[in-house]
């Protein structure tokens, strides 16, 4: 085991622990990565080797751009579990530009970005956080006097790949929510010449970003993606199919209100509007913040924060399905449907009565005519 690996650990553990422990932890980490990436145990040594090599050689350059963001993904990144952000930044990659974390400011910061781009032309992993405003020539987000769009254009030729972290960068996210005041879009809508990988989530799970980096370090290629450019290893399953409350769903055991009997038993949150059935993410199995918990475990329904346009599509959050706009008002689907069935039934009944009444009148008229007809051939005598 090379010196580099020990370093990787001692950064986090502050050098207090012996090498044997570090080694064990490291292999455990490689094992977790294998699980995360859906690889068999046989890959663990390969992961370990690749990381060691990466550590000893030139580290891949990362340029992290922030546009219309809330820095939530940056914060999230600092909470990464394995590797920790200290491990990653000091040992595995070179974070050459990141406004929230970097020491340099102003022109010097921009210079650092240019240096990194020039030094790694075509090899830079460009991480983007936040959406890109396109309305009014993009004046809603400028850095160093340039718009987000201008910066994307400047960086694009140097990039190996764009990694859109967070739902804002991936799909436009919050800024794009109706009425999208700034014409915000996701990275995939503006980057033309380079591959884009989406790591949605509000914020993205930091360990998924680490998994992506590890995957790249180990295999020297990007992982398999789904149709929305999300890595399958993290977005291959619905929350609902990995959720620990799922047995309660299948049993038909639900929390019917917050903090009711069901909520206190940890029953399924479906009836409180859980979007787990519509959401692809790894929260339930990977969890958050060193496996402490995840939204559903902590009692709140999943709001589907990693799905495209969830701000408009998944709201209101405490209803399972959105409302339907019909007859000028927003209504629940079932109330609308039920009303229409009722109206139909009444209509049908009215039709039946009306037909019956008409027929009866006709019959009466006929009978009358018949009576009169009977009377005619035999005019009264006398």
């Amino acid at each position: 085991m090379g010196d580099g690996i020990q370093t990787l650990h001692t950064w986090e553990r502050s050098g207090l622990l012996d090498d044997a422990w570090s080694r064990r932890e490291f292999l455990k980490f490689c094992g977790r990565m294998a699980v995360l990436l859906g690889l068999s145990d046989a890959f663990i040594p390969r992961i370990a080797r690749a990381l060691e090599t990466a550590i000893q050689n030139r580290r891949p350059s990362i340029v992290w751009l922030e546009f219309q963001d809330c820095a939530g993904n940056t914060e999230s990144f600092t909470r990464a579990d394995s590797p920790s952000v200290a491990q990653a930044v000091l040992e595995a990659v070179s974070l050459d530009y990141h406004e929230t974390l970097m020491a340099a400011a102003g022109h010097r910061a921009e210079e650092a970005r240019h240096k990194a781009l020039e030094a790694h032309r075509g090899q830079v992993i460009v991480v983007v956080e936040g959406s890109i405003p396109t309305k009014d020539d993009g004046i809603y987000c400028t850095i160093g006097g340039k718009t987000a769009l201008q910066i994307i254009r400047e960086v694009e030729p140097y990039a190996l790949v764009f990694v859109a972290v967070g739902t804002c960068a991936a799909f436009g996210g919050l800024p794009k929510a109706n009425p999208n005041p700034t014409g915000a879009v996701g990275v995939e809508d503006v980057v033309r010449t380079k591959p884009v990988i989406n790591l949605p989530g509000c914020p993205a799970n930091p360990d998924v970003l680490m998994g992506l980096l590890v995957h790249y370090l180990v295999f020297n290629r990007l992982p398999d993606l789904d149709a929305q450019r999300r890595p399958l290893f993290a977005f291959g399953k619905r929350i609902h199919d990995t959720c620990e409350r799922r047995p309660h769903f299948d049993a038909g055991q639900f929390a019917l209100a917050f903090d009711d009997y069901g909520a206190r038993q940890g029953y399924c949150l479906y009836k409180l509007g859980c979007k787990g059935p519509e959401t692809y993410n790894i929260c339930a199995s990977l969890r958050w913040n060193m496996q402490a918990s995840w939204p559903v475990k902590a009692g709140h329904p999943c709001i589907g924060c990693s799905e495209r346009d969830f701000w408009d599509r998944f709201t209101p959050f405490y209803e399972r399905l959105p409302e339907v706009r019909a007859f000028g008002v927003e209504q629940r689907a079932d109330r609308l449907g039920g009303t229409l069935v009722g109206v139909t039934a009444v209509g049908v009944l009215a039709h039946a009565l009306y037909t019956w009444a008409v027929r009866r009148a006709e019959r009466k008229a006929e009978e009358l005519a018949k009576k009169e007809g009977e009377a005619k051939p035999n005019p009264p005598e006398g």
Binding site: A227, R238, Q253, G262, L321, P322, D334, V341, T344, T355
Partner: protein, 234 residues
């Protein structure tokens, strides 16, 4: 109006077995799907107890999916028979592409709206019913597409993954919207069922034509004088 009891009764073999089978399978599956679907959307229960021993919603969902497959099968059978069956079941006759078909449809609609206008019987489909059935088959297809898209997103084999991705792409990558549309179809069928049953009974009462038994036996009995002038006669 003339004395009805005196007129001649026409007898025809109308619905072939595959049509009847498809119809009743469709009936059974749609009703099952509607009930189980409603329960999936609004589970009205929440029973305490050890979750691992209870499988209420699991069972309901299982029934829903089973019925979903039955619906698919019946739809495929009906689809196929529309190409090879008798003239009453052919898509070629059912599709309202000619002007006179629309004239008939209007004629039947008028007599439903204004019951003073005489309501006639037909040997095959009544023209308006014919149109509605096409719409219902579209509805069935739509439920199948949305239903299987949802279903595909619960299976993780390559086959279902691919199917699910296609399905989702159809709906702007919005799985929640698929749920909503799928759920709305429940009400489409509920409304259809009300109207359908009414009109079946209406036809029986008003024109004294066999209907329900026809869908069982395939044979139709109509009084000749009740037949629409344009209706096909044997």
């Amino acid at each position: 109006m003339a004395e009805r009891s005196e007129s001649r009764i026409i007898y025809m073999k109308v619905w072939q077995a595959p049509i009847r089978i498809a119809h009743w399978l469709m009936f059974a599956s749609v009703v099952t799907l509607g009930i189980t679907g409603y329960l999936i959307g609004n589970p009205p229960f929440s029973a305490p107890g050890e979750a691992s021993r209870i499988y209420t919603l699991g069972t309901i969902r299982f029934l829903h999916f089973l019925a979903g497959y039955v619906l698919l099968a019946s739809f495929l059978l009906r689809l196929y028979w529309g190409f090879v069956g008798n003239r009453f079941s052919r898509w070629a006759t059912m599709l309202p592409v000619r002007k006179w078909q629309w004239r008939w449809i209007w004629g039947e609609t008028r007599s439903l709206l204004w019951p003073r206008i005489r309501y006639y019987a037909y040997t095959g489909h009544a023209p308006l019913g014919n149109l509605v059935y096409l719409l219902v088959y579209l509805g069935v297809l739509f439920s199948i597409v949305t239903g299987f898209t949802l279903y595909a997103h619960q299976q993780y084999t390559p086959f279902w993954r691919t199917l699910g991705a296609w399905g989702l792409a159809l709906f702007g990558y919005n799985l929640n919207f698929v749920h909503l549309l799928h759920r709305l179809m429940l009400w489409f069928f509920a409304i259809f069922l009300v109207v359908h049953l009414y009109l079946v009974v209406y036809t029986v009462v008003v024109t004294r034509t066999t209907q329900i038994d026809t869908m069982i036996s395939g044979k139709k009995f109509v009084f000749e004088e009740e037949l629409a002038p344009e209706a096909e006669k044997p």
